[in-house]
Amino acid sequence: MPVITYRDALGQGLREEMQRDDRVFLMGEEVAVYQGAYKVSKGFLQEFGEMRVVDTPITELGFAGVGVGAAMVGLRPVIEFMTWNFALLAIDQVVNVAAKTLYMSGGQFKMPLVFRGPNGAALQLAAQHSQAWESWLAHIPGLKVVAPGTPYDAKGLIKAAVRDDNPVIVLEGEMLYNTKGEVPDEDYIVPIGKADLKREGDHCSIITHGKMVLVAMQVADTLAKEGINVDVVDLRTVRPMDVEAITASVRKTNRAVLLEEGWEIAGIGAQVVDYIQRECFDDLDAPVVRVHQADVPMPYAKSLEKAAKPDAAKTIAAVKKVMYID
């Protein structure tokens, strides 16, 4: 099977969807002539032309609304935000229109569109450019929110997102674009709403999504050397959440660590803990522990940034804590 980058996997998925459906177009800042701020749409302008690969002014609210309008009347827009940090300017369109129009219109107007772009912290980009938005977006009924952690899932989920008749948020890992993995050349989708058990073990469940999947896999490798075997449950979709996959794993291991990139308060992990206490109260051998970003804006200084971010060492400590080791 070909081994390609996460970036190319996304590009391949998008290109295939644009080839199979002429209603699909890509719009955003620098997607066409510049070939994508992160080069996901490399070669798209040449292949599909300027009506389907559309450079916009720096106008997040405006072009998010253009996507909404086009979707309302039958097109299937893919709206790229250069990063999700800038999507905050467009949040009115995402939350107030894309997510609610089907409901407010009593089912008359579907909203088949994708909002996508890199999410989460990169390296030393400081507070305004380093944040993970999934809990904000997952809060909203009427949206689906996916966060692929591997190239395989990236291609499969972006394709599923484009084909879905609902507004789908695709949170790409800014630090994942260069990571590599096996990706079939063929047409496949990863179903939205289905988690993936990426590693099996009996001692503890690490439940995570997006960029943190990579960290969880490193943690699993390290712990395996110490004889600790963990389940790595990759949620892949944070709304709707695969509660069955969560509970199946926790019922088996009786211990859980929640790993996410975002902040603690009202985070994705908080929701997972709620599902666990509802469904697995009697199965637990220890309180659930969460690993997340420190509850501060992201600092610039390398040392401080490291201290703020969730990482493998913090996750290992959390696993050991729920296992009452040390």
Binding site: P57, G65, A70, P77, D92, Q108
Partner: protein
């Protein structure tokens, strides 16, 4: 009076839409139709005020009284396949577009037979059958959506137009700027219509906008622009026809400022006059009631007489009463409806089937 701008060399020539607009001046039947359309909106809104007082309509409710020539003049020029998007002040436009008074009233009453099954209410009237893309509640938020509809029309190579109604306060939002810039840049077939009724809630235009001839903002977007009197249905039609023609044939957007006035408070909780506008000012504007102006002109021309007018009044009263009765008898939405229409469970896995479903 309307000022015409020709900055883009885009002033209209005598074309189909224009001729249609002008012809109305000489066509008594059409004039009667306009009077009927405006009076229906007026009586409908009056009954809404009553229903609101009785608690049959809840939430925010914004009446259109005084502005009827704008909706009737504009929408009488549209083709069935054209699109409309608007604000929360949407009842009059919905009726002028041909939505059934029954379904609109039932929506306001929050009932099952409402246009949106009672889930949108006064501010969110939607109707796929008439391409009515919604009443929207966030000031300025719907303007980029209109640009997107224009983009979709161009993408498909169609010759429809999208009409985007907005209040004058909208011109101060970032959304307006972003949306009109893209429409001007990409040449999209959208007619942006500012219903300048002088106030955004209690804030007069002059206290909110750095310029007062707000159609001039079109200059920033290289967009043809004009201003016209919104109390004269023919003036509205003349100005809008020109803009529609330009959008249809040249794919050029227009910014139109239509000067009108709302005769009621901003919403049901706002007094008609008192704080931000005086009774005297209101009375001055009441003299230019669009319905009275048209009726008087037709009366003077001998096209209608008192008996005809009395009959029209009676017919419309009945039609609105029928809408009220229908809404009143319509059941509450079933409780299951709470959970419906949050998401759909369809995909475009099969592209051809998906296209067929989308155009159904």
């Amino acid at each position: 009076m309307a000022k015409k701008k020709s900055d883009n060399g885009a002033t209209a020539t005598a074309t189909a839409d224009n001729q249609k607009a002008d012809a109305a001046r000489g066509d008594a039947d059409l004039r009667k139709e306009f009077l009927r359309s405006m009076l229906l909106q007026r009586r409908f809104e009056e009954r809404c005020a009553e229903a609101y007082a009785l608690g049959k309509i809840g939430g925010f409710c914004h009446l259109y009284i005084g502005q009827e020539a704008v909706s009737t003049g504009t929408l009488s020029l549209l083709r069935p396949d054209d699109y409309i998007i608007t604000t929360y002040r949407d009842h009059g436009q919905a009726l002028a577009r041909g939505m059934s008074p029954r379904a609109v009233m039932a929506e306001l009453f929050g009932r099952k037979d409402g246009v949106s099954g009672g889930k949108g209410g006064s501010m969110h009237l939607f109707d796929k059958a008439t391409n009515f893309l919604g009443g929207h509640g966030i000031v300025g938020g719907h303007v980029p959506i209109a640009t997107g509809v224009g983009f979709a029309i161009k993408y498909r190579g169609g010759d429809q137009v999208c009409i985007c109604f907005m209040g004058e306060s909208v011109v101060n939002t970032g959304a307006f700027h972003e949306a009109l810039n893209m429409a001007g840049l990409w040449k999209l077939p959208v007619v942006y219509i500012i219903e300048n009724n002088r106030y955004g809630m209690g804030t007069a235009l002059e206290r909110a906008s750095a310029i007062h001839d707000i159609y001039e903002r079109g200059a920033a977007y290289n967009m043809p622009r004009a201003q016209c009197d919104g109390q004269d249905v023919f003036e509205v039609r003349r100005a809008v026809a020109e803009a529609i023609e330009r959008a249809r044939t040249e794919k050029v957007p227009t910014l139109l400022e239509i000067r009108t006035y709302r005769f009621m408070g901003h919403s049901m909780s706002d007094a008609v006059s008192g704080t931000y506008r005086s009774k005297a000012e209101l009375e001055e504007h009441l003299k230019r009631d669009p319905i009275i102006l048209l009726r008087a002109a037709m009366h003077d021309a001998g096209e209608i007489d008192d008996a005809w007018m009395a009959k029209l009044d009676e017919d419309i009263k009945k039609e609105v009463q029928d809408a009220w009765d229908f809404a009143d008898q319509s059941p509450e939405p079933p409780l299951e409806a709470l959970w419906e229409d949050v998401l759909v469970d369809t995909t475009s896995d099969d592209v051809e089937a998906s296209k067929a479903a989308a155009s159904a």
